[in-house]
């Protein structure tokens, strides 16, 4: 795995197309978490794997241009606070922590079940950013090790 140059042209071309499909599937899993199997956790891992796929094919330099790593770091920390804020709004409006303070809506429709989709999206961002960040840091660590 040469990090600076990435893999062959065949892998790069296929990755260029397939990354978007994987990302779309990840977003679908997150947004439909309250309707179909899956949810924030599974969708977040799929998106992290899409980024990982890009990183394995193109190398670290190009990934750094494509994804804003600092933004990802901030999102990872912010989503933990957002989860708490949603819970505290529940205290203000309904009296209990993490209460479902939005009306539940119609069963089987996309905009239904109150705070559940919001929490799904927050968890998706958190898992995606966190897991990708671990791999990112591991790759930095590995390169320095090889240089020694």
């Amino acid at each position: 795995m040469k990090d600076q140059h990435g893999m062959t042209l065949i892998v790069k071309t296929i990755t260029r197309i397939s990354v978007w499909l994987i990302l779309l599937y990840g977003f679908y899993i997150i947004f439909h978490g309250h309707l179909t199997p899956g949810g924030g956790f599974a969708g977040g891992v799929i998106i992290a794997l899409a980024f990982l796929n890009y990183m394995l094919a193109y190398g670290r330099g190009k990934t750094e241009k494509w994804i804003n790593i600092n933004l990802l770091h901030d999102l990872e920390s912010a989503s933990a606070i957002l989860f708490l804020i949603v819970g505290i709004i529940g205290i203000a409006l309904s009296g209990t922590f993490l209460a479902n303070w939005i009306t539940s809506g119609k069963l089987f429709s996309l905009f239904s079940s109150g705070t559940i989709p919001i929490l799904n999206i927050i968890i998706g961002i958190k898992v995606c950013a966190g897991l990708f960040f671990v791999v990112w840091t591991l790759s930095i660590f590995h390169i320095e090790e090889e240089a020694d």
Partner: protein
């Protein structure tokens, strides 16, 4: 029918884990470990838990990528021959057989497969959709009835990633400084 498939899967997983210990090549060992994880994912699918199956499957891929990344360097990880103490091995086997023999009575007291003794699960099945408005019952449990648990899970993930970053960043930062000084 499901039980037969599960026994089949479990035997494959046991064989794979034994092979993973015994095989010499590191890459083969990691791939056989992957068979164990995918077997778990299939077992969840047979027991009609697609949510768990998806997460297990994805994490297996993730774990294999990280394991290959970490252990593929032959210079850093060298094999050491382990001498087996025969007396200790016999003692371990005797203790394990004793524990298994004693726990046979306990296994009979377990509730039947698919018939839990708790009433909470039945309450969720009956009222989950009408109370939360979520069609996927698993999500309605983890993000509404048991949202507090999910908050704990998020905290655990946050802390684990923070710890990993803290350890790895110190080493990466050190060598960057050395490069600058050179």
């Amino acid at each position: 029918m499901v039980e037969i498939w599960l026994i089949f899967l479990l035997s494959i997983m046991i064989i794979a884990s034994i092979v993973a210990i015994e095989v010499k090549n590191k890459l083969s060992a990691i791939i056989t470990l992957g068979i164990v994880g995918l077997g778990t994912s299939l077992a969840f699918l047979f027991m009609q838990a697609p949510d768990l199956a998806i997460v297990q499957f994805l994490f297996e891929i993730f774990a294999i990528v990280i394991l290959v990344r970490a252990f593929i360097n032959p210079k850093k990880h060298q094999e050491e021959k382990s001498g087996m103490n025969k007396f200790l091995a016999v003692c371990t086997i005797i203790v394990l057989v004793l524990i298994a023999w004693q726990s046979l009575d306990l296994l009979k007291a377990l509730p039947e497969f698919g018939n839990p003794k708790m009433e909470t699960a039945q309450y969720y099945l009956d009222n989950g959709a009408s109370e939360t408005g979520s069609a996927n019952l698993v999500t309605s449990i983890i993000l509404d009835y048991r949202a507090y648990d999910t908050l704990g899970e998020v905290t655990v993930l946050f802390t684990a990633i923070l710890g990993a970053l803290a350890i790895l960043r110190v080493k990466a930062g050190k060598s960057e400084e050395e490069e600058v000084s050179k």
